[in-house]
């Protein structure tokens, strides 16, 4: 395949070292990702929308860890799911399977005050809104003013009445929250199957820039978490500098930060790595999960679940 030639040598060397079955990994990242949707139960019942789409010939396969997530296995007459009347109505949201993971791991409840630190364009905010039955309150924050418009659009389209928007740098957000989702800005390596251009801006310097920002974000997010609260940290990248290194930084800096095991039924994951380029991480980071694209035919992701003791 032509794409093979533009995988940077350094990228290949890095992930040859830590990826389980790298041959499969480098093969699958050159293949397009199947589209996936999340049923929006704020607007329609799961049964009704499944029945409507299946009658039209859409073949859906439920994600093993979330009852409202579905991969589109087959489209009628090569149609695009985004052009259906059901999408116009906001009965479902087009969202990658692995992107549904952080909200599932955070498991918000309606009596929690929830903060989504980097919320735009709103995939996980709107998912959490429906998970708590459009009740309670989620603060959807994003520091980028230009991204508030799509965030607001998606909140409205999904009929989320339990969301407030703020536009504050995630490193200085004020308040105390029961649950915090920090889906951090990252180098997006796990999105390669959706956007091959990810590799054109890839470099180790680029990764380091994100790593520094992520450390500041996770530190502040932990500080504004209530005692016994839960923080989920996630990225869509493979780089250990942006994943285990960031979580390890938090664990080493805060004695009351404790990682929790993440168990997902029928969904393959790898544990976090404890060493990278001569750096040893806090051994607890094994409890983080990595999702490599070839494990479940998805994009790539990293998730850590932290409790404040």
């Amino acid at each position: 395949m032509k794409n093979e030639a533009i995988i940077p040598r350094l990228f290949r060397e890095r992930y040859n070292k830590i990826c389980p079955n790298p041959k499969q990994f480098f093969k699958i990242i050159q293949e397009p990702l199947k589209p996936a949707i999340r049923i929006n139960t704020n607007k329609i019942s799961r049964e009704e929308i499944i029945s409507r789409l299946e009658k039209q010939g859409w073949k859906l396969k439920q994600t093993p860890f979330y009852e409202n997530g579905f991969v589109i296995e087959n489209a009628p007459n090569d149609n695009r799911i985004g052009l259906t009347i059901e999408h116009f109505m906001g009965y479902f949201y087009i969202q990658e399977v692995v992107s549904m993971l952080p909200a599932v791991v955070l498991a918000p409840r309606s009596d929690d005050l929830v903060l989504d630190v980097c919320a735009a364009p709103g995939s996980k905010t709107t998912q959490m809104s429906q998970m708590i039955g459009n009740t309670g309150l989620i603060i959807a924050n994003d520091n980028d003013f230009m991204r508030l418009k799509p965030l607001k659009y998606n909140i409205e389209k999904c009929g989320c009445l339990n969301v407030a928007i703020t536009n504050i740098d995630g490193r200085v957000v004020k308040g105390k929250f029961d649950k915090i989702l920090l889906d951090a800005p990252c180098s997006s390596e796990g999105q390669i199957r959706k956007d091959w251009k990810v590799l054109s801006r890839w470099s180790e310097e680029y990764i380091k820039t994100f790593s520094n920002l992520q450390k500041q974000l996770i530190k502040h997010a932990f500080e504004i978490l209530k005692p016994n609260g839960t923080l989920v940290y996630s990225t869509c990248t493979f780089a250990p500098e942006e994943n285990e290194e960031v979580v390890s930084y938090l664990l080493d800096g805060f004695g009351n930060a404790q990682l929790e095991e993440i168990k997902l039924k029928d969904f393959k994951t790898s544990e976090g790595i404890t060493e990278w380029q001569g750096k040893r991480f806090n051994p607890e980071v094994r409890k983080c999960i990595r999702i490599w694209p070839h494990q479940n035919d998805t994009g790539g992701f990293f998730v850590a679940k932290v409790r404040k003791c």
């Binding site: 149609n79 116009f88 109505m89 309670g136 389209k157 009445l161 407030a164």
Partner: protein
């Protein structure tokens, strides 16, 4: 953003106007709260206003429920959420008309509508409440917000 909950008499006045127009059961709105700005009434989840008051820098909470004008106009987002509970003042579109509506076009309806009188109406296609229009005779002015308009679709 200054969020002030609507006083109960203001809320009653606004709701009764919309309930009267669309035949909603009042209970449909029981689990929500309302607040207003100069031009709009907003709707959000019950208890959200009090919680949001403790948060710095809130720009939006919930979304617009209705806009003030000569008559109160209910928003497309709310109609898509609760339009199924409306018992009157909806127009039933056929496939061709629904496509035109979603594409943002004004429509001359093929049939007179016994379910609607002139004024703001819900544009309904099958069980889907697509949005709001303004009906005058057979002419339906499309009030779908530009960002929602879809010019290519496959139904």
């Amino acid at each position: 953003m200054l969020i002030a909950e609507l006083k109960s008499e203001q809320k009653e006045k606004i709701l009764s106007e919309l309930i009267e127009r669309f035949g909603f059961d009042k209970k449909v709105f029981d689990s929500f709260e309302f607040y207003r700005t100069k031009d709009n009434v907003y709707i959000c989840a019950k208890g959200a206003i009090e919680l949001a008051k403790g948060i710095a820098g809130v720009q939006d909470l919930g979304f617009a429920f209705a806009r003030f004008g000569v008559n109160l106009k209910i928003t497309t987002n709310i109609i898509q959420l609760v339009g199924r509970f409306a018992k009157k003042n909806f127009v039933i579109l056929n496939n061709k008309e629904a496509k035109l509506f979603i594409a943002g076009e004004d429509i001359v309806l093929e049939k007179e509508q016994s379910t609607a009188t002139n004024g703001f109406v819900i544009a309904r296609f099958g069980t889907d409440n697509l949005g709001v229009g303004f009906l005058r005779g057979l002419s339906l002015k499309n009030l779908l917000p530009g960002a929602k308009v879809l010019r290519t679709f496959n139904f």
